[in-house]
Each structure stands twice: as C-alpha cells, then as structure tokens.
Amino acid sequence: MEQMKKVPITFYIRRFDPVTDEEPRIQKYVLQVEKGMTVLDCIHVIKEEQDPSLAFRFSCRMGVCGSCAMLINGKPTLACNTQTLDLTDSVLTVGALPNFNIIRDLVPDLVPMFGVHQRVQPYIIRKDTQEMEKPSGEYFQSPHQLEEFLQFTYCIKCGVCMAACPTMATDRQYPGPMALTQAYRYNTDSRDDGGGERKDLVAKSHGVFGCHYAGECSNACPKGVDPARAIQLLKRDLVRDYLHLGKDHACAKTHPLPPNAERKPKIEAPPFTAGT
C-alpha cells in the first residue's frame, strides 16, 4: 500500500489547570497528521505521545454522543466529526467550548445546560395524570404529526449551539438554543399537553424572545437539527397563544387496547441521576 503522506500540523491548545493556573494558557504541539485523522484522533495522539496531562472529553468517536464539542479554529464543533486536514495544512487552534465554565483544559462544565434542559421538562406531560401513570392504551400519532417535530429529536445535547449563540454570550439567563428547541419539540408533540408548564421558562424575559435570529446555532449544529427554526416556531406559537389565534392542538386521544390484548410487564424506570 502506498505510504500515506504525513503533514506536520502545529496545534495550539488552550489549556487550563484549576490547581496551578489562574487563566487559560496556550500550549503548542507539533504532530504528523495523515489523511483521515479527525481532530479528536490528533488530540488522542498528543495525549499518548507528548503530554499525558491533557484533559478532554469523548466517548463514541462518531458524532453520536455529543461529548467532544470544542472550539476548533474559532468555530464550535465536534472534534470527532472534523477532519484535521480539511481545516488546515499548517496550524490549528483548539479550545474548550465557550459560553461554559472550563473544568480543565478542553473539558467544559455542561451542568448549567443540562439544568435548563431539565427545567423545560423534556418529556410528555398530559393533563390526564391517571392515563399517564397507568395507560389504558396507545396514543395515536399520524406520520404527519410526527414530522412536525421529528427534526428536533435528533439533538445530541453537545452544546455546540450554546457556544455559537451570540445571545448566550452575554445573557446568562437565556435558556439557550438547545433547551428552547426541546421545549418546542415537546410542545408540538401531539401527545403532549405541557405547553402551559413550559411557558414559565420560555416566555418570560430572558426567554425565547432574546433570540434575534443570528442563526449561528443552525449553522453550527453537527446534526442538522436547526434550532433557529424551532425557536422561531416556538415564538410563533407563543404569539398565537397570546392572541388566541389559531387552533389549540388537542392532545392525542388514547386508543384502547383490543379486549384480548396482553400487556407486557411494566419496566421500572431507573431513578433519575442528572442534577441530583
């Protein structure tokens, strides 16, 4: 096989050690990079061969888990989803995801993001609590109703949109594109009744109207979720709701099971761990 050509790339990595550093500092590494290596691969090699103290977060290495979001050449993106040689043939800067605190080196503290995510109640809420706890049948949903929110379910909570958002940069109470998109996703779900409960968070000041459609969340999203669209549609629904225009979406009815149907045994949900 033909020997792969290696290109020397200089990495400027922004590092921060909470024990010794007051401020992040830039450290330089030179690495021979060949075609096919993602930025995450390069950082792995640096850690293995040059500096074992470098801290970063990753898990799946294939753009599914959302752990490896970083600021690469000034743009927030997934390190495992970015080919190094596509970006540069000489220098690359890598830093922790902005608009979050840095725990260490390339590891941002995503807890505030998961906190607001939890506060938008990203699950089906129904007024008929009885039915929610002990379902007597299935909720019907047409493919058309599914399409209305399906795009926004592909979110992997990587935080890239939060880092790209200029409103997030100055307004710390702004819930951020990720949480707002999830609020819209559940509000629009035909099985859901919880729009009123989510309104407290999204419709107040520092809420969804802090967005002026810079569109960077949608430009940056590695999964094509298009948070900017969800946020605008969420605003539309809030305005309609306020003016009592448009139709109230009636919550999906339960379709009772056929009389001879057998229920599968209930699977107990694991206790909640996030944020507790």
Partner: protein
C-alpha cells in the same frame, strides 16, 4: 463532590462577534443590536438637548448653534442609518418570528439545509430596500440640504 475552581469561559460582548461561523445573519444581528442601543442613546441625548429650553431662550439658541456644526450632520445620518436598518430588519425579524419564511421541520439530510436558507430571499429583499432607503436619506441629508 470536591469543589474545584473553574474558569469562566463566557464570551461576553465579544461573543457578538466571535464564536460562530460568520453567517450573514449574524452580522445583521450585531448591527441590529448596536443600532437599537444607539437609537436609545440618541433618544436620551435628544431629550437632554430639548430640555435645555427650560433655561431660557439664550441657552436654547446656544445649543442650536452647537448643533449646526457639520459633525452633527454626520451624526444625523448615523442615527438615520440606525433607525432605517433597525426598522426594516425588525420587520424581517417579526415576519420570521411569526413563522413565515422559516419553513417547516424537515428530515436533516447531509449537507444540511437550515431555515436560514429558506429565509434568505426575504433577507436579501429587505436589505435591498434598506439600502435604497438609507441612500435616499443620505442624499437628503448631505446633498439636498
């Protein structure tokens, strides 16, 4: 859990400029915000300048004389620019926020197309109108007067 010191990595006001991929809408976002703040500042100056009246006709005339300086002509244009841009871009934002021009949710297929692509024609039309309005105002301020 052990508490450790963290570094606050929020962009702050620089985030209005940095941190993204520099889509054209982001420039509009920045100009829109700066213009909005600028108009607020202008209103406050305007109220201050008008309130000079209560000190009698001399102070009023003195203030009016200061405002004849050519620098204020430029200032007038800047305010007009800010106003025209903010108003027209604001109309675009209102249309978008009412759900026009952002399209419906669609299956994300690579290379991703977003709502930004859907609203771009609207953005271009609005910006052309804004340019015409601003040019006409500039003509009025600098050439005809």
């Amino acid at each position: 859990m052990r508490e450790t010191k963290q570094f606050d990595n929020h962009f702050g006001i620089i985030g209005w400029l940095g941190g993204g991929r520099w889509g054209i809408e982001r420039y509009l976002y920045i100009i829109h915000r700066v213009a909005g703040l600028g108009i607020l500042l202008f209103f406050m100056m305007h109220i201050f300048e008008s309130s000079v009246r209560i000190f009698g006709p001399e102070s009023w005339n003195a203030a009016m004389n200061v405002l004849k300086h050519p620098v204020f002509k430029l200032g007038e244009f800047v305010v007009y620019f800010g106003f025209a841009f903010h108003a027209l871009n604001g109309l675009r934002l209102i249309l978008i926020e009412l759900g026009f021009a952002v399209g419906k949710a669609e299956e994300p297929v690579y290379p991703y197309r977003s709502s930004l692509n859907v609203q771009r024609p609207l953005m271009i039309v609005v910006m052309v109108i804004a340019a015409v309005v601003i040019l006409a105002g500039g003509m009025n301020i600098f050439v005809l007067h």
